[in-house]
Every structure is written in C-alpha cells, then in structure tokens.
Assembly symmetry: C2
Homo-oligomer: 288 residues x 2
Amino acid sequence: MNAADGMVSFQEQITARIREIESNLCVGLDPSPDAVPAFLHSRPDPQLAWNQLIIDVTHDLACCYKPNLAFYLARGEEGLRTLRETIHYANGHQVPVILDAKFGDIGYTAQYYAQAAFEMLNAGAVTLNPYLGEETLVPFRSYRDRTSFVLCLTSNMSRIDFQTRSVLRGELPEAPLFETVAQKVVEWNTEQNLGLVAGATAPEELERIREIAGPSIPILCPGVGVQGGDLEEALWAGYTGEGSLIINVSRAIGRASEGPDLGELARQEAAMFVNQYRTFLAQYREAR
Amino acid sequence: MNAADGMVSFQEQITARIREIESNLCVGLDPSPDAVPAFLHSRPDPQLAWNQLIIDVTHDLACCYKPNLAFYLARGEEGLRTLRETIHYANGHQVPVILDAKFGDIGYTAQYYAQAAFEMLNAGAVTLNPYLGEETLVPFRSYRDRTSFVLCLTSNMSRIDFQTRSVLRGELPEAPLFETVAQKVVEWNTEQNLGLVAGATAPEELERIREIAGPSIPILCPGVGVQGGDLEEALWAGYTGEGSLIINVSRAIGRASEGPDLGELARQEAAMFVNQYRTFLAQYREAR
C-alpha cells in the first residue's frame, strides 16, 4: 500500500486511507532545529526524535505527513538524512508523505528535483511553484503514481502581492492570477496526478478554486490552526469526497508543548482536528 | 574579499571583480549526475571533480559561479556535501557564488532556507521565487551583505503561462505580471541587496525591466548560449555599468566536451563570452 513501490498511486493510497481512518488530517513535520524540545536534546538525532515522537502518537490519525524541506536543509547533510529517515519512518507506518519543497525550476533542473523528491527521498507527493509555467511540472507529472500539488492561493498574508491580482484573459472576463493557475493546472493534468494548494485562510476563494478544478482534483489546504484558518469553513468550501481536501496542520500539533507531555498534547490536538472533520462529514452526508 | 566573512557585500565584491577582470560572465555549475564525463568517473567524487575542473580553467574569467541546487540534491547527502565543497572551492579562488535554488516560502521556512543558503552553504547570493509575495524575501533581505535575485522574467518557453500575462493595476495602465514583480522588488529593496532575474531570451522585456528597476539593481541574466539568447542584445538592453548585468552561461561551458579536452574547450567558450563583453564595453563607452 506504499505509493513508493509503484503499485498503488499516492492519490489512491491517500483516498483509501482517508476513508479507512476517517481523517483528512495532514500533519506537518516542521521541526525547527533551533526549537527542539529540551527533553529530546540527549537523543542522537534530536530533530529525528521529534518527528518520530509526533509520528508515534499521530500515525492512526494522520492521512499523511508533510515535512518542509527548509527545516532539514538548514542542517546540511545531517538534516537531509533526517528528512530521508523521517519519510522512511512514516512510510513504515503505512502513512504517505508530501514533501513540501515548492520546487519551481525547468528542464533538467526540474527533472533532478523530481528525482530528489520521488527517488532519493521517496516521497509520495510534492509541492510545486507555478511561476515558471508548465515546464516546472513536466518531469514531476511523468511519475504517474505520485502527486504534484501546485501552489495556487497560499495561506500567507503576502499572497495578495501577486496571487490575487486581476489578470486579463482575452475575451473572457478578467480573473485573479490564482484562478488562472487553477485553470492551467486542470489543463495540464493529463496524467491525473496534479493537485492544488489553496489556503484555509480564504474560504470563498477556496470555493472558487474547487469550482474551477472540478470535483476530483485534490486540494492541499494549509492555514488551519496557528495561521487562523477555520477548518469547518474550508471543508464546506472544498470537500467533494474522500481524498478531495487534505487539511494540513503543523505547529498546533508539532509544537503543542515544549515539555515531555508533547506526545500526549500533540495527539489531543490531532484528535480535535479529526473530530471536527468527522462532525463535518456527518453533516455533509446528511445535507446531500 | 569574501562576501561570506561579512566584510564586503556580495554586490561590492562582484562589482569590483567585474571591473578588475573585465568580465561579467557567471559560469553555471550544473553537473548532471548522469552526465559526468567518463574521464572523471575514477575520481573519488566525480561531480566535484567536474566542478573543480571548470573552476580551475575559468576562475580568472568568471565574475561568479552559479550552482543549481537540483543537480546536487538529487544525490542526497553526498550531493549536498559536493555543493558545499564546490562553493568553498570557488570562494577559495576569490570568486563569489550565487546559489540558484529559486526558494519561495514564508516565515520560519524562508528563514531556514536563508540559513541553508547563506550559512550552511556559505553562498554570497541566492535566487528567489516571488509567487508568495514579500514574505519570501524578508529573512533573506536581512542578511545585508548578501544579494537575493528575485525571478522576474525567466528564460524558458513556458514563462508565457503566467509571467507575461497582463495584470490590472487600478488607475495605472495594465502591465505584464513580470513588470509588477519588478516594481515590487524596487519597493522591497530597503536594504539595497535585491536583484532581479531576467532572461536574455527576451531583450525588449529586459530593457523594460531595466527601466523599471532603475540603473543600480543588479540583473542576473540567464538564457545565453544553448537557450539561444543573444549576449550583445542583452547587454545593450540591461547594462548600466559594472555589476549591473551578470550574464550566466552553463551548458555551453560545463558541457563544452565530454572528453579530456573539456578543460581546454570550456576555457575557450568562456573566453569567447568574455571577449564579446569586452567588445561591447568598448562600444558602450564610445557611445556614451
């Protein structure tokens, strides 16, 4: 059931898993090297120990994990090994992994990034930046059993610098840049393995993105928790069935405590988000 | 004279160097792991040996080097070590380095990428992707002696998917997205350490970017050589003095041959681009 062995695609695996465990919670694994809890400092690789603790207490609640490359790359070779081992550890618990790297390059370069994500690190999915156009995703798309989530409308404040700007579209009415990105991703989805990133911090725009994307393109949705996005609103805006909307929470879980009760509190936080999803699910099924 | 020691900024260092060696040639170090020349296969680290050979034969002709992260990351921990050692080797020859990573993230994540680029790898400059807005560059900008080149108009074909789209700007006339990026970068350049990336494959647009950016913002200009951009046209479009326009050439130099004459031919190629710059310089000075 591991996407990495090429038998079952990431999208099939995560959809089955979301159905089975009744959770669409993606747990972000962003272990700031400068903020490892003191009680883990004595471990041989404190950053890895932090991730393993979070995986140990959430693996039955998480539909996937999402480590962000930056937190590992900053530590150089050792951090990269930690990232590989983290992905291996998650896969060992049958939980697929989205590598959050926001790669955005072209040609050979994009090809080597795809190799880094899908072969060297063995991630099931990756995040990509659309600024350089279709060439960025071509080599990623050719890994047919993996998924590439293309940034559309991000959850941060300065998304308004460019993403929400109105773009002219010939005879069609003007539309924000992020809608143009969503449309292009639909067009480029020839292998049925592209997804979108759309933040929970803008639920109306998320709804619009879902309209453009159609019901089957998976949306990875950050911004719930510390960033202030509302889980329920995001679900009503983007959910169309298992595997359609993956809600990412990072800090609220991974940094639930700085003390030895981190495991317990991280699990409580994760369970709270899962329960919100289950409550939504009951209402959604009733409403249909 | 190394930007890394915080005494002289990247921009000061590269401007002085361009004046001194009469070359604005940036040599790309993109050693595809799958394409290392056979005569280097017996070396302990063939990828590093390839880079060292190119640096050995071009260091008096290169104003800087530009390794692209992808080619190293694909090899995992070993590749990352090769990248660190490559940057160290270039710095040892007093040649500054631009890490081409096209990072585009926010908050803590962007901060750890900045740490990876400027501390772990000790690069003098980096490339950044603007899609997530100003938050991407905030932590990079705070390294005052380094330079961050923000992607504006890239040299690849699919730049037209988004970068050249017309964007509405309130009461101002509409303008392509890349011009909006250039304007924002001017606004965000509070520490005088931002630059732009604008491809040689679109010289008219490069001229427009130079107009918007004003004379002093450095422009990193890829696309000359294999990608078909014309060096002389690019220079007339974007040059305003030493340090203003850095011309990148990668494959035409690094892959000048697959045989043991690589060093000789790579140097010839590099010298050809430098001579074109010197010819331009004479004409430019005469024309003023």
